[in-house]
Amino acid sequence: MIHRRSVVVAAVGAALAVALPTAFAGSAADPGISSTAIVIGGTSPLTGPAASYASVARGANAYFAFVNARGGVNERKIDYRIVDDAYNPAQTVQAVRRLVEQDRVFVVFNTLGTESNLAVRDYLNQVKVPQLFVASGATTWGRDAAKYPWTIGFQPSYAAEGLVYGQYIARTKKKAKVAVLFQNDDYGKDLLASLKAGLGRSGSKVVAAEAYQVTSSDVGSQVAKLKASGANVFCIFATPTFAIQSYVFANRLGWKPLVINNAVSGTSNIMVLASEGGKNKLVEGTITTTVLKDPTDPRWNKDPGMKQYRVLLAKYAKGANPNDVYHVYGMAVGYETVSLLRRLGANPTRVALMTRARSIASPKNPFLLPGVVVKTGKGDSFPIQQGQLQRWKKGRFVPVGGLWTSKRN
């Protein structure tokens, strides 16, 4: 007696047995590598609460277009697929799976957002797809490289950054009372923890810390609470929209602290918006850190790297605002990626890519400040470990001291 169920099950099994081998005619090269192209993909917050960062992908794309126009990398053009994840890790997960399994990308590149990257790290490491030059400063990318060998970061770690701010406050203000607004996720908490470490036992301390969610509509109440703590230093560890709001609300409350704005929002284009057409004086004296050359800084007017930046942006990113510093970040990471791909030669593989990514020596990235080197090696999984403190003065950033270097590995 033939049970109907077993017939159905057998039919399914037979269908699968036929389908699987024929559906995937394998080839010897890694996915994403064809004779004419290298396919790379990544997610970017093109819409949603962090949409300011879309410029990073745009900058990288412009750089890749430039390289492609000159023949590409070892005769292959770079095919960069950018997918919107609206800064929502749930969407990142779906998008990255699609990039890996349907678009068959060679590497997942410069995906933006700490939480977004954390959400896909296990997956990418399990399927052994490089998670290259993560656009986030979370310390875990470098610190946990042994556990997640397929993941590598790029920008200076938040641990280094927070430490620098803490040390700066300890150095310049006696017994400061510090209030912190931070995003309630690993990125914000990372900065807060290292700030406290930097303050150490100097007599200055964090007297109030308020968190906000990425999906909050505004941070007015948080800023009011922070002001009420009586602090005279205000650390903004927030993404651009909320950083701007912090300036607006603090100003409206008549609060006049020293402001420290984190690197991911401390760019000149954001500072200009926060100054509310020049009327918000709270921006004056803001301290932040950076590794990028600022397109509005007259120091770089004759700089070949920035000249190239302007030309490329105009040619390959129509309508893009050249004063938006995030474009520079995109080009900087695009430059490193192209160097890395070039080193792989005629037959790139994912394994070779990650091996080379762990031994980068790039001292002259045209889009980074002079003296900032991109370097990884044995025991060093943080590509960039330096930065330049700067102060906002009369509509522009002025350097404070020389380059700082983080010893943390």
Partner: protein, 304 residues
């Protein structure tokens, strides 16, 4: 210590009234549309955002100065509202509730998409017509923008009130909303009045948008939360009562800030900032269940 607490309290009240003023404007828009066409316009927030972006584009891309841009935006919003009603709402007005809900949702999605498509999702800044000054009033710091917002919101409400009460157009609007059949019989062009209602609502939304943007930053999703607070305000005040909408808006603005303030001083400390929105929604639910007609509305009586 008490003095500090008192200044904090007053500050929260003032900023609560300011945000409440914005909720009041949008709630009023929702009420006008609901009263005249029976529709809950889920796209109200996005229409307000679009108005704010139009103002911004005029100022930043076409170098207009603020007040002309403000006025032009109001005009564009007004006719835009009429246009949307005529082209999109009128064909489905008489259909099922669900169909209308889906249409306004389609409008929400399309307008939001248009804003992103045209101007990108990056945050921008729209200046406040009232500048960035703050005034010290007996120890309480009050921002010019907040005072200005409260003034404008109340002013517009009074103007509208006068329009409804003392002009022929206002009378016709009310007639068309309350009893379209009989209004037609006495010569009121009902469909024009409904369109006018949408135009007014769009104008109110435009003001709300332009007053919100300087505070929270101009970005495509800036009115999403405001819309929800405005729903709460409209429901609280009575979904068919314009005065109720205004009262509801101010109440909610102040109430939420009060909870924030009290949580600072130990009371209600379960109230973290994440609960602000759910609190507003709890208000919606509570009102709908306990007194669905809101504070100032009239109970809906169904004929069997």
């Amino acid at each position: 210590m008490i003095a500090a607490a008192f200044t904090d309290f007053m500050q929260q009240v003032v900023s609560g009234l300011a945000s409440g003023g914005i909720y009041a404007l949008l709630a009023l828009a929702l009420v006008i549309i609901h009263r005249s066409t029976g529709v809950i316009n889920f796209a109200q927030g996005e229409m307000a955002t679009l108005s704010a972006y139009i103002a911004w584009a005029l100022i930043v891309h076409h170098s207009w100065s603020y007040w002309p841009a403000f006025a032009a935006t109001l005009v564009i919003s007004f006719f835009g509202g009429i246009g949307i009603h005529t082209a999109i709402i009128r064909p489905v007005e008489s259909g099922s509730v669900l169909r209308i809900v889906i249409v306004t949702i389609g409008l929400l999605v399309a307008i939001n998409g248009f804003v992103v498509w045209q101007w990108s999702g990056e945050p921008q800044q729209l200046q406040s017509p009232f500048g960035t000054e703050v005034y010290d009033v007996g120890g309480v710091v009050v921002a010019a923008h907040d005072i200005g917002t409260i003034t404008v919101a109340l002013g517009i409400v009074l103007l509208l009130g006068a329009l409804f009460r003392f002009t022929k157009v206002g009378l016709a609007l009310r007639a068309a909303a309350v009893n379209p059949e009989e209004a037609r019989l006495v010569g009121v062009r009902v469909s024009w009045m409904l369109g006018l209602g949408w135009g007014l609502a769009a104008l109110l939304g435009g003001v709300a948008g332009m007053l919100t943007a300087p505070t929270v930053g101009l970005d495509p999703n800036m009115m999403a939360a405001v819309l929800i607070y405005s729903f709460a305000a409209a429901v609280l005040g009575g979904i068919d009562s314009p005065i109720g909408a205004v009262v509801g808006g101010l109440l909610i603005g102040v109430l939420l800030n009060m909870l924030s303030f009290l949580s600072q001083y130990g009371m209600f400390d379960w109230f973290t900032e994440e609960l602000r929105l759910p609190m507003a929604l709890l208000i919606i639910l509570a009102v709908l269940l306990i007194r669905p007609q809101g504070i100032l509305g009239r109970p809906e009586v169904k004929r069997v």
